[in-house]
Amino acid sequence: MNDSNQIFANIALKIRQSLELEDILETAVAEVRQLLGCDRVLIYRFYPDWSGVVAVESVVRPDLAIRSHVIKDPCFEHNWLMPYREGRVQLTADVRQAGLRDCHVAFLADFGVRANLVVPILLSDRAEPLWGLLIAHHCDAPRDWSDSDAQLLKQLSNQMAIAIQQALLLQRTQAELTERRLAEASLEESEARFRRLAEQAQDVIYRYVWRPEPQVEYINPAITDLTGYTPGEFYADSELLFSLVHREDLRQFRRQLLPPLSQKSDDAQHQPPLTVLRCVHRDGHVIWVEQRCTALRNQAGELLAVEGIVRDIRDRMVDLGSPERPLLSRKESPAMGTDSPGQKRIGQFWQFWKGPLAALERSRWTSAAIMLGMVVVVEGLRQAGLSTGSQMLALCLGLTLSASVGGLQAGLLSTLTLWFYLLWRLGQDGALGLPNGLLYCLLYGVATAVVAIVVGKTKDSSLLADQALNQVNATLELKVQERTATLNRTNHQLREEIEERRRAQAAHQAAETELQQLNQALESRVFERTATLAASEGRWRNVIDTVRLLVVDIGVDGRVNYANPHFLALTGYESEAVIGCNWFETFVPRHQLSPTRKIFQEFLDEGFHSYFQAVILKASGEEMIVAWNNTLLKDGSGQLQGSLSIGEDITERYAVSRMKDEFISVVSHELRTPLTSIHGALELLDSDVVPLESERGRHVLAIAAENSQRLVRLVNDILQLERLESGKINLNQQSLFSTDVTARAQELMQMLLEHANVELVLEDPGLEIWADGDRIIQVLTNLIDNAIKFSETDGRVSLQVEAAASPTVPHPMVLFKVSDQGRGIPPDKLSNIFERFHQVDASDSRRRGGTGLGLAICRSIVQQHGGQIWVNSTLGQGSHFYFMLPSQSDAPGGLSPVSMSPDRPWSQR
């Protein structure tokens, strides 16, 4: 069960390691098929019409493949899906025995299905959760699916569902990211279009933002033509815009630029008012402009910015003849007095029209003044006694003057008044011949008529003036309307642009919000993954910390970034001393520095030397040979970080290997030497270069025979040593008396002793030993043989046996001592005298028939008995070889010693 949990966890991990839907499904089917050991595992994915396709599959052999098959079979009615919707699992051990409908059996037979296991894949985040089916097929034979199979598949389908949801979410996020990029692009394009438009416009367009800091956010280059200031100066100085406005218009301008801070969105839709302002050019002259401001608010109605369009209307002011109408409010009477050319022109224009306009405005008073003036003139003429004709002439002159100076209304009024005066005077003078009563009645009537006419005419004339003015006004209005329409169109266009921009911004915001949500979802997944990664990292770190290998991370600059505990333990350094230190200066022996640096650089540059052996220095100064396996370390962006080197301490192995090489070399020499003699001798004899019968022939034959014996001994010794050292020889240990082995050895060496004329002195009290008699006799004969070889004629060799104690063994031991009076062993040879082929003098040994392996064999036999062997020697005085054997078995209740019968067949050495 634990195994299946483990397998499930592995598969689940693999499924979750990808966000690519294809990968997830591929991984899942392959793993599941392997796990269940079935013939085919597939994922069937539904289309919206409930037909479907074999989306992915894993098959045991190619002929079972049905990938990409679209399945739309009338046998499957819509309701066959119901159990799957409810999450049920369908197990069929044998489709032929399952009582399925014929069409279903035929359908399954088409795909070679004999047994199947079907599990739904349900996506929990959907209205229609059934996404597909995870199906395992067995094709060749029926199969009894176990509950654990079904359970496992169900769990996996859940895992897959989660992974699919995530993959789909990712796909959606990616699609939305693409959309967002498109929206941004269109926004940018729109912004660019707007900017182009604004940059080329004749009118000044600006945007003044109030948040976070009040400032000119944008103003187009047209402002330079209008005011002489560049846009840059406005950006630099937020107050410049206000300082440009004529101080009398400043309050109005401020009101426009700071409309109510908060306003309902409905109100914001109103067409903003057009106002006329004066602004002052950089060189001081005043410019008449009209401005329309639009407040930009956010959804809450809060003021964000004000956009203004300003148009230069100086020309229009000249055309219209009066700055007062209709664009100027009456209160805003222009205040002249500066001496700029434009202002002068406007001033002259104003002076010219000032009188008539005042007369128009105050015609009654003018008429009265002219009338009085004429009365005075006519009276003067009469007093001077001039004739009535002269008086009429003056009257006509006055009339003309009145008409020319006072205009139509003044002229008319003066005429009537003078006629009244003239009639009265003529009447007085009696020139008319009428009685005074009638005259006064007539005068009264005329006066009444005059008053009536004057009053009426005054009203009429005022009406006329008004009508004329109205006409002018209408013309002006028309022109203004035309201009305003043009302005409105431009404005409308700009507003549309702004609106479009606003919409794009809103879409952008909405997309951003959704992306943020997706982002959060992804982040939580990333967090989950990070946790998994952290756990995995922890596991790896644990592995690296405990592995019996040297692990170091060396940066490209040669600094050590990490060294594992095993590295520290082997090199004898503390972590603090290693981390951050320079690898080459600390660990590479001086004589290796240059080649090692070169190798490291070539590894970083070319990837060479992934494997190489190098010597490194321990803290103690000792050298250690390490076999390194190097991997280039790169960060997420592929940037080279250094080398991760995993090494193994092969110092010992290297030494062993060298020893082995040396041994083979020596063996090779030791075998080839006798072989050369044998081969050469036989060749000489065989080719008759040396006749066999001759004395030389016999000598050559003897060489061959002697060397072949030597070869046989050598081969035997090598084989025996090999078998001893590899434990292939089992000791036949039993309880014996020491005399059993010493006596036998003496007996075996007797002939040699006599031949060499050397005496053997044996001192053996007969102690109990626990030993393989044959092997110990071999040790003794070897040692005695050596002693004889290095003894002079008439020399003496002794063999002594005594009880002893070993500091390492609890029970009594028996000590054997073989001594000679030979030339002794030099101290520098003593340490490895028991090694193979380490004779003191090989030629001596060889001359005496030794193989160079005798002492190595002795040591091996003694050690296998649980004993020890050693040597003492004094140059020129002789050598003492000692070995110690246990007196009894380590096992409790050891047997009593067995007395060896004399006829026991001891094997020859």
Partner: protein, 136 residues
């Protein structure tokens, strides 16, 4: 031994063999005398060989490498250091079979190597080839 069946030399060559193995010394000596008619001197150690080389001035020396005490390598160095022996061509006689070992020996300045075990009939042609002596 009389002159050889294979080689006839105008002047009789004198060869010194230095080897600690009695059998090999004898076999080489018999072969060279019998097959080439050369005079063979022999020594069983490096120091003995050096002394003989100085005194007898052989035409060539066959020198065993692995000898107890002073080995063949040390002996060659000494031969090269002595004015009397520096010009004597030396051939190593060796049981070392590995190419790396053989190369190391050749680098020491000998004229060549003859590896053990050798064919006695090839011994004279091998020596002549290494020393560029004419082979009749």
């Amino acid at each position: 031994m009389t002159s050889s069946n294979h080689v006839e030399n105008a002047t009789k060559k004198r060869i010194l063999i230095i080897d600690d193995d009695d059998g090999i010394r004898d076999i080489v000596a018999i072969s060279l005398e019998a097959l080439a008619g050369w005079e063979v001197l022999n020594a069983n150690s490096g120091p003995a060989g050096l002394a003989l080389a100085c005194s007898a001035q052989p035409d060539a020396i066959l020198l065993d490498v692995m000898m107890p005490g002073q080995d063949g390598i040390e002996t060659l160095k000494q031969l090269q250091q002595q004015a009397e022996t520096v010009d004597i061509a030396t051939i190593f006689l060796t049981a070392k079979a590995r190419p790396s070992e053989q190369q190391r020996l050749l680098d020491l300045g000998c004229v060549g190597l003859i590896t053990k075990p050798f064919e006695v009939h090839q011994l004279v042609p091998q020596i002549c080839a290494l020393l560029k002596w004419p082979l009749a």
